[in-house]
């Protein structure tokens, strides 16, 4: 049974079984590989996407649950140009291996959408869902602060 939803503003259809994690549908069926697999258990945040604007672990989201909804992935965060957050990420040279960074950016974008001028503590609270094994945390904090200021 096909499941219809939208990704980055485009209508899509998935043929995957209902319980399939949205993550794998995005990556392997829709070929949107910017969203990453890290733990499959909502423990690392590499798979973070926005569903109806709210950040969600796509690895814990059954594809059937997004029927009729709108999903945004890193590819749809700011198509064609870097937004203020991405520019701040580059200005602070945040990424190292880069693998977790799509998830970090999606989490950070959700934070700034709710709270355009977060305190440092609010940034750390919010971003604690996302693991970066390279330890880019100090730069993530600085980049979010920079984006809040320059955004």
């Amino acid at each position: 049974m096909a499941i219809d939803f939208s990704v980055n503003g485009r209508p899509v259809t998935s043929a995957a079984p209902e319980g399939t994690p949205l993550l794998w549908v995005l990556r392997e069926e829709l070929k949107l590989t910017g969203t990453k697999y890290g733990c499959g258990a909502g423990q690392c945040g590499a798979c973070m996407v926005h569903i109806e604007g709210g950040r969600t672990f796509s690895c814990l989201t059954p594809v059937a649950s997004v029927a009729g909804k709108s999903v945004t992935t890193i590819e749809g965060l700011s198509p064609g140009r870097f937004n203020a957050l991405q520019r701040a990420w580059l200005a602070e040279s945040v990424p190292q291996c880069g693998y977790c960074q799509s998830g970090q950016l999606m989490s950070a974008a959700a934070l700034l959408a709710e709270n355009p001028h977060p305190t440092r503590e609010q940034i750390k609270d919010h971003m604690s869902t996302n693991v970066c094994r390279c330890g880019t945390y100090p730069r993530i904090v600085r980049a979010i602060e920079r984006a809040a200021k320059e955004g």
């Binding site: 995957a16 079984p17 399939t20 994690p21 794998w24 990556r27 392997e28 069926e29 070929k31 949107l32 590989t33 910017g34 969203t35 990453k36 697999y37 890290g38 733990c39 499959g40 258990a41 423990q43 690392c44 590499a46 992935t73 890193i74 590819e75 965060l77 700011s78 870097f82 991405q86 990420w89 580059l90 040279s93 945040v94 990424p95 190292q96 291996c97 880069g98 693998y99 977790c100 960074q101 799509s102 950016l105 940034i123 750390k124 609270d125 971003m127 604690s128 996302n130 693991v131 970066c132 094994r133 390279c134 330890g135 880019t136 945390y137 100090p138 730069r139 993530i140 904090v141």
Partner: protein, 725 residues
């Protein structure tokens, strides 16, 4: 592939990356045409584009930018016109001299290992361009100079771009010789020592960066493998009835080390793997291994001085000096097994030809040539029949450079089975359960002091699982069967101690082991530096003065010590908190650190508030990236020190994912204060140098704050409580 030298060098309009790559791959150094060696590293197109080869892999450490920057510096290339090309897998051309000519990105050895040869190559290209300009203008070479990508004749005001020269260049039969003193001096650098955006960074903020897990091929299937719980076991009985019933499952394959599932979709592959019921051959050695029990076994071996250890490093006569010392101190330290937890779980993609006589692979390996060799061996074909597509690595930390490259061979074996491209995905649970770990180690140390309080004898006995023999039998045998991955860092050459002995009591457990960021320096520097802090406290010495005394022959070491003392305002007391100091010399990189911590005496929880670190790695090719790598290696060390541990019951790993392993999160990070102490010395490593200093600095801070000596990493709250009691 028959490319004339001139076409190759000049880069005619039709020159493409694939031609360039094939040319490089087909290049044979035994031809001894040195001029070709220039070309194998760099090529200039007539439009001014400069192709520079990157021999390393990129896993976040920045080599992809750093090595081409060094070549571009000596070429005097315009960096904005540089295009970076991955090196073909060929040790003879691209091997790292620091690893005896192996293409292997590890050990923070890329910049330091390639430093001399790539600068020479860059200078040779520049010289050839200048010689051509001299010929065209009919002026002496000595009158010419260069500006970025331009040869300049100041006397006549004439200028010619590298692209213009490339269009008409003649190549010498033999590359010009460049003497070391003809290379640029640091004060002439335009690129080295200046910050720049790493070349792959934009792709890492918009989802376009390509890792092997992202590779998509037409007709590709998905593989998952259920491996045995321990190394060396194999499946006895396989019940795959439920697995086969899952829609989309294509094949289930018995493998020597497990059971492979091939399916149309990843979810079908994972589902079928989970549905397998397999019993395992119990004869493998690691069955029965219990890490809690092993601590006692290792400790007994380390403490039993009648048992000769395998010598790693020695100077003078430590046992004799110990016997005549005025005072002998001893202590024991323990480090648990730890896991890499690179963010990208292991995976690879392979497409084996239907006849099984050729193969294409996509993977993120730390060694291009090891990967090709392992695949060739698995298929019984020549390495030339294996085409490697190297992707970015979602973290490495030592996990991806084992000689058997098992996670690469996985997809090759399954692709061969079904004669279609296969992407093999390890789940995070697979990555933990089938991990290869920094070993459990127990360290027994003794130090003898003379009547004036000087350390005159030092003995360090390390009982741990062997690493190098498992990880890389080739390098182990070739290197005199020395377990350098376990023992590195137990030598104390920088310190002024006349009689020293470090030795290994290797434990054959059958546990899968690995280099891990900081290798032996991690456990060994924890033991030696924490012990020095104890000696200072017990003998009434100041920990900083003790190190300065030991560093009396190492001015660069003294300089970072003084720097970090000033940065941290070390002499100012912090009520309710403790400061812990430590110093290490990591392969020539000097590192000193101060941690500020407090201890909750009821719960045993440690909070690290601030961490100061001064580092001298000689010339920093990319200073901000050295800072980034230092932040990274401190945070990695923080996890190893406070929370991360792997334990075993009956040979099987007890942890399963990110949370129960315990990697640091953003709110766990202290304020970091990092200072590069820049000196004009040859560059040494920068990628992991801070990791080993974190545990001893924090252990000293915990002692200063609470009086508790924690001697077992990670410093779990219950261990702190025991130490407080």
């Amino acid at each position: 592939m028959n490319v004339t030298r001139r076409e190759f060098m000049v880069g005619a309009a039709g020159l493409t990356f694939s031609v360039l790559l094939e040319s490089c791959a087909s290049f044979r150094p035994e031809e001894k045409l040195v001029s070709k060696q220039i070309n194998a590293w760099a090529s200039i197109a007539t439009d001014g584009t400069i192709f520079i080869v990157n021999p390393a892999v990129e896993m976040g450490q920045g080599s992809m930018t750093a090595i081409p920057r060094i070549i571009a510096e000596e070429m005097d290339a315009d960096w904005s016109r540089v295009v970076i090309v991955p090196a073909a897998p060929d040790d003879k051309v691209y091997g790292n001299p620091g690893f005896r000519g192996l293409m292997y990105t590890a050990g923070s050895a890329t910049v330091t290992g390639y430093w001399d040869i790539v600068r020479t190559f860059g200078a040779q290209v520049r010289r050839v361009l200048m010689e051509n300009a001299a010929r065209i203008w009919n002026v002496p070479l000595a009158e010419l100079g260069t500006e970025p990508s331009t040869v300049v004749h100041a006397k006549s005001g004439r200028r010619m771009s590298y692209g213009e020269i490339a269009a008409v260049a003649q190549l010498p039969a033999v590359a010009p010789a460049i003497k070391p003193e003809e290379l640029k001096k640091p004060e002439q650098y335009r690129l080295i020592g200046k910050d720049v955006m790493r070349v792959e960074l934009p792709s890492k903020v918009n989802g376009t960066a390509l890792y092997s897990i992202d590779v998509q091929l037409p007709g590709m299937l998905y593989g998952a493998i259920l491996r045995g719980p321990v190394e060396g076991t194999s499946p006895l009985a396989i019940d795959d009835a439920r697995a086969r019933a899952i829609p989309g499952v294509v094949a289930i394959v018995r493998m020597p080390f497990g059971v492979g599932v091939i399916a149309e979709t990843p979810w079908a592959a994972f589902g079928a793997k989970d549905a397998l019921k397999v019993s395992w051959d119990r004869r493998a050695r690691a069955f029965g291994h219990d890490s809690d029990r092993a601590v006692g076994v290792y400790a007994a071996a380390a403490r039993d001085l009648t048992r000769a250890g395998k010598p790693w490093d020695s100077a003078g006569d430590a046992p004799a000096a110990m016997r005549t010392a005025a005072k002998v101190y001893e202590a024991e330290y323990i480090c648990d097994y730890t896991y890499h937890a690179q963010m990208e779980p292991l995976n690879s993609v392979a497409s084996v030809s239907p006849a099984g006589d050729a193969c294409e692979i996509w993977c993120g390996t730390q060694s291009q040539t090891m990967a090709v060799a392992a695949v060739a061996k698995a298929l019984g074909i020549a390495p030339e029949k294996v085409k490697l597509n190297l992707t970015l690595l979602g973290g490495g930390f030592g996990r991806r450079g084992h000689r058997d490259e098992e996670f690469v061979v996985d997809s090759v074996l399954l692709s061969k089975e079904v004669k279609r491209p296969v992407k093999v995905l390890w789940t995070r649970e697979d990555d933990v359960k089938n991990g290869r770990f920094r070993p459990l180690s127990v360290h027994y140390l003794r130090a003898g002091l003379d009547g004036s309080g000087r350390i005159v004898a030092w003995q360090h006995r390390v009982a741990c699982d062997e690493i190098t023999a498992f990880q890389d039998p080739v390098r182990y045998k070739g290197g005199g069967e020395r377990d350098f991955l376990a023992m590195a860092g137990s030598e104390l050459r920088t310190y002024d101690i006349a009689n020293r002995l470090s030795e290994q009591l290797p434990q054959q457990t059958g546990i899968r082991t690995s280099s891990l960021r900081g290798i032996g320096f991690g456990p060994n520097k924890f033991a030696t530096e924490a012990f020095l802090d104890e000696i200072a406290a017990r003998h009434g010495l100041d920990p900083v003065d003790l190190r300065l005394q030991l560093l009396k022959n190492t001015p660069r070491g003294q300089a970072v010590v003084r720097e970090v003392v000033a940065m941290s305002d070390y002499r100012r007391p912090r009520p309710g908190r403790g400061l812990g100091f430590s110093f290490i010399d990591y392969s020539g990189t000097m590192v000193a650190a101060v941690a500020e911590a407090s201890v909750d005496k009821r719960s045993g929880a440690i909070k690290v508030h601030d961490f100061w670190l001064a580092l001298d790695c000689g010339i920093a090719v990319h200073p901000d990236n050295v800072v980034a790598q230092t932040e990274s290696s401190i945070i990695y060390g923080l996890g190893l020190t406070l929370t991360e541990r792997i334990s075993f019951k009956d040979g099987a790993v007890q942890q399963s994912n990110i949370r129960d392993y315990g990697v640091p999160r953003i709110h766990d990070i202290p304020e970091l204060h990092i200072k590069l102490v820049s000196t004009p010395n040859r560059p040494t490593g920068a990628g992991q140098m801070a990791t080993p200093i974190v545990a001893p600095a924090i252990s000293a801070a915990v002692f200063a704050a609470s009086g508790a000596r924690v001697r077992h990493t990670p410093f779990l709250p219950e261990r702190v409580l025991t130490a407080l009691a």
